[in-house]
């Protein structure tokens, strides 16, 4: 079961919190949508600090982060 976290338009630190919640649920992969570089870096840093794999793709209106265990 994969999860999708749509954090576009949310301000700091909500994208990170929402992603953290999804990671804590333990279902991977998690697809996180963000629209600023700040959110991309914050989400990436948080996920990597929890030893998750993070792949970033640019999407139409921001970035898509794929987080896997």
């Amino acid at each position: 079961m994969s999860q999708i976290v749509d954090a576009r338009g949310l301000s700091c630190p909500q994208p990170v919190l929402a992603t953290k919640k999804a990671i804590d649920k333990g279902e991977f992969p998690i697809e996180v949508l963000v629209d600023t570089v700040t959110s991309r870096e914050n989400v990436r840093r948080m996920a990597e600090s929890r030893n998750k794999q993070v792949k970033v793709e640019e999407s139409e209106d921001g970035f898509k982060l794929m987080i896997s265990n």
Binding site: G9, S11, Q14, D35, T36, R45
Partner: protein, 350 residues
């Protein structure tokens, strides 16, 4: 190259660099004529203008200028007003609290403790689903409003424009009349604005991230600022340890604490300290721009209605403890109540 730089700025060394540069520049600006322990702040100073424009340049250089608006602007306005009323009860934003501490003003410890408590309360709201909602993409011109206002301010400042009614009033005495040479201040602030936009330097975030997820990334930047500013102050002979009669500060502990608790809560609910809001406004965030306008309004309220703190004074060799007026106390308490209502009532149900 651009990618490499982005990676560096996002790293721990990047944020430490930002803190270090602020820590060097702020005490130097004091040496050059800015008010003591107040290297960077206040209304319509070249520093504020430089922060926004420095962030604007950085955002354009790295293609991060993203005009966006629509995340509960009226709430952000109110948070800006009360954040400023709280900060002025203490006589300083978080940056100045750190600079005051770096100059030996131990009242700043109480202010920072208040700030941390306010942020802790804000974090509880964030954990229980508090959200101001999403912003939306908007037109380029909208993202330019705050930078354009700042350019306008700069022109007014440089040419010292006088309107027929007498405005703009430039302070003739007091901290408002003290300043380092305009172009040096502006240059320093442009550098800081650029670095802070790249590294997302934020004092409120530094405490919030530790409480929320044991993340010390932003904190390392703030710690670098404190340590470096202290060292530079020592070199320049600007350190004076003490509690009473510190420069532009009062030692009314309860109100230092509560004022900054209000500010911390408002910053946490709005997602950034005043510095961060200015940098975000520079990269096109119209909601942060509204927060900034709220802060300016709050400052006008505080100064016109006597809500701001009065510094300690020395009368015939005796220290007279300053503090805030009854109206100021009521404003701080009222602000805390309003922020709590915002925190409780704006939680998304799961």
């Amino acid at each position: 190259m651009s990618q490499r730089l982005t990676q560096f700025f996002a790293s721990r060394w990047g944020i430490i660099l930002a803190g270090t540069v602020i820590g060097i520049l702020a005490p130097l600006l004091q040496k050059l004529g800015n008010p003591p322990n107040m290297g960077i702040c206040q209304y319509m100073r070249p520093e504020i203008i430089g922060f926004v424009l420095g962030a604007l340049i950085a955002a354009y250089a790295f293609r991060e200028f993203k005009p966006r608006v629509g995340s509960a602007p009226i709430v952000r306005f109110i948070l800006g007003v009360f954040a400023m009323i709280g900060a002025l009860a203490f006589l300083g934003c978080p940056w100045r609290a750190i600079l005051r501490l770096a100059g030996g003003d131990l009242n700043a410890i109480i202010g920072l403790a208040g700030l941390a408590v306010g942020i802790t309360v804000g974090v509880q709201f964030l954990k229980s689903g508090y959200s101001l909602g999403r912003s939306n993409k908007t037109y380029h011109s909208v993202g330019w409003i705050m930078p354009a206002i700042m350019i306008g301010f700069f022109l007014l400042l440089v040419f010292r424009v006088q309107f027929s009614g007498g405005a703009i009033f430039f302070s003739k005495k007091g901290p408002g009349a003290m300043y380092a040479p305009i172009f040096i201040s502006l240059g320093a602030a442009l550098i800081i604005g650029f670095l802070a936009q790249r590294t997302r330097f934020c004092t409120m975030g530094s405490i919030r991230d530790i409480i929320l997820m044991r993340d010390t990334h932003l904190f390392s930047g703030v710690a670098a600022l404190l340590v470096v500013a202290f060292i530079v102050n020592l070199i320049l002979g600007q350190v004076k340890f003490g509690i009473s009669a510190q420069p532009i500060a009062h030692s009314s502990h309860l109100w230092n604490f509560l004022g900054m608790a209000l500010a911390g809560l408002a910053f946490a609910l709005a997602g950034g300290c005043p510095g961060r809001q200015l940098f975000l406004a520079g990269e096109g965030d119209g909601d942060s721009a509204i927060f900034v306008i709220g802060m300016i309004t709050g400052a006008a309220f505080a100064h016109n209605f006597g809500l701001a703190g009065k510094p300690d004074t020395i009368v015939e060799g005796v220290v007279k403890v300053g503090g805030i007026s009854t109206a100021g106390m009521i404003a701080v308490i009222f602000g805390l109540v309003v922020c709590l209502i915002i925190g409780f009532s704006m939680r998304e149900k799961n």
